[in-house]
């Protein structure tokens, strides 16, 4: 039953993802990708849990390495996306040659 439930979650979120992301304008596609990198860092949650009880040192090492790689994605992904998105500005109407 558990697997069926998870499959339902998967199906719904794929449809929702398609709906949401097809509305992102072409201008923001690069930040969308780096933002997606950040979200895929969600594996960090899996890494914390999967390594579990620490019953085997190798599983602890694997979990810790996974946490490290996923943390790169989370921190780097969100920061660089924020940095990029902050560059997208609309010029004020009466400001010829406006320097930001």
């Amino acid at each position: 039953m558990e697997a069926v439930f998870l499959a339902l979650v998967l199906m719904l979120s794929i449809f929702l993802g398609f709906e949401l992301i097809s509305k992102v304008p072409a201008t923001l596609h690069t930040p969308l990708m780096s933002g997606a990198n950040a979200i895929s860092g969600i594996t960090i949650v899996g890494a914390l849990i999967a390594a579990g009880d620490g019953n085997d040192p190798l599983s602890t090492y694997l979990g810790a390495a996974a946490v490290m790689f996923a943390a790169i994605n989370v921190v780097g992904g969100y920061l660089v996306t924020n940095r990029m998105l902050s560059m997208f500005k609309k010029k004020d109407t009466d400001q010829p040659g406006g320097q930001a």
């Binding site: 794929i14 899996g46 946490v67 994605n73 989370v74 780097g76 660089v80």
Partner: protein, 453 residues
Amino acid sequence: MSIELINLAYVAAAALFIFGLKQLGSPATAVRGNTLSALGMFIAIAVTLFNKNILPWEWIIGATLIGGIVGAVVAQKVEMTSMPEMVALFNGSGGVASLMVGWAALYNFDNSTFTNITILLSIVIGGMTFSGSILAWGKLSEVMTSAAVVFGAQRIVNALILIGMIACAVLFCMEPAVNSPYLYAVIGLALLFGVMAVLPIGGADMPVVISLLNSYSGLAACAAGFAINNNILIVAGSMVGAAGIILTNIMCKAMNRSLANVLFSGFGAAKQATKVEGEVKPITADDAFLILEAAQSVSFVPGYGMAVAQAQHVVRELGELLEKNGAEVTYAIHPVAGRMPGHMNVLLAEANVSYDQLVEMEDINPRIDNVDVAVVIGANDVVNPAARNDENSPIYGMPIINVDQARTVFVLKRSMASGFSGADNPLFFGDNTRMLFGDAKQSIAAVVAEFKG
């Protein structure tokens, strides 16, 4: 905290991811969207720490610190021109993280066969995402040749790898063990498969590959979610997977090629394009200035060459001078201009171009005949009219920005070399085309100097 509470918090995190993506629908709200998404991630991680069976604390703190610092430094230091390389590396680190999560999940002893299959999926997808991304990074940063590497028996070798991988996976599932030799075989073959999949893909197809690997990194997280029965991994992973697939599709359409064609067949120069002959009309910066000064409407069409020449700042300066002079200025961007989706937009935004001046191909083409001057900077294939007219051209059928229909076209170019596709460009010989030879940055700077002088 009980498992129910933790799962409830995951629902909140998922909602924040969804709101965040929704707000990415407009540049005006996008920064807030990113913050919401980051908040969702923070909640998801924070509540997981209340789970009783997690990694020992000293490992969590150490690993998060190292990863966080690396990520933060990269995010601050990376040049906007190198964004494709950075995204490629992030795809790779997402992939390897999922591989390791799957592997670690094998240490729970009571896995069902279904769980073992999802574990193998996360290992395989994560592994090929990792090695494929590293290779894509190598091609993008030109550590290795960016050309397509094609050899005769490639498809047979790939098929053998795939069959071998499936066979080992089946053998593993029959007798699952953490030290099973079949596990190592699957990991090794997945890594090899990632390399083999990216090898035959050439430089100009890179936007497709990074989008696809982006998608895989999400799907790997998704598979890891199944492996450990975790909702939030499935939700977030499938969002990323969907994003990557949509972008891949947009890129393929913009090149008028199927995904299979991009993935399996280098850039086929099978057909010989009709030879273009004619006279090229060069122009000096002085004359270019005179024409631009009289123009009512100017459209810049940037390509990867603009990024290489680092010309975006001086282009913005010229754009502002033209606006002051009373002209309407737009920047027309082809979906596959640059090395990744939306790359040109970010470079121009960095140079302080207002985002409402960035227009898409579909918006500029219907009104291109009202454009007085189209300035092509470092773009070639995406403005090649042979795509419209010459059935023999390798890029025939690809949608282009129809700059040849503008009243005047300036093409900034170093020399008469052809674009990545190797196709001749009849645009250069058009009656209304003027070639401004030389380094794009210096050429534009010369025109800017005329305006100021």
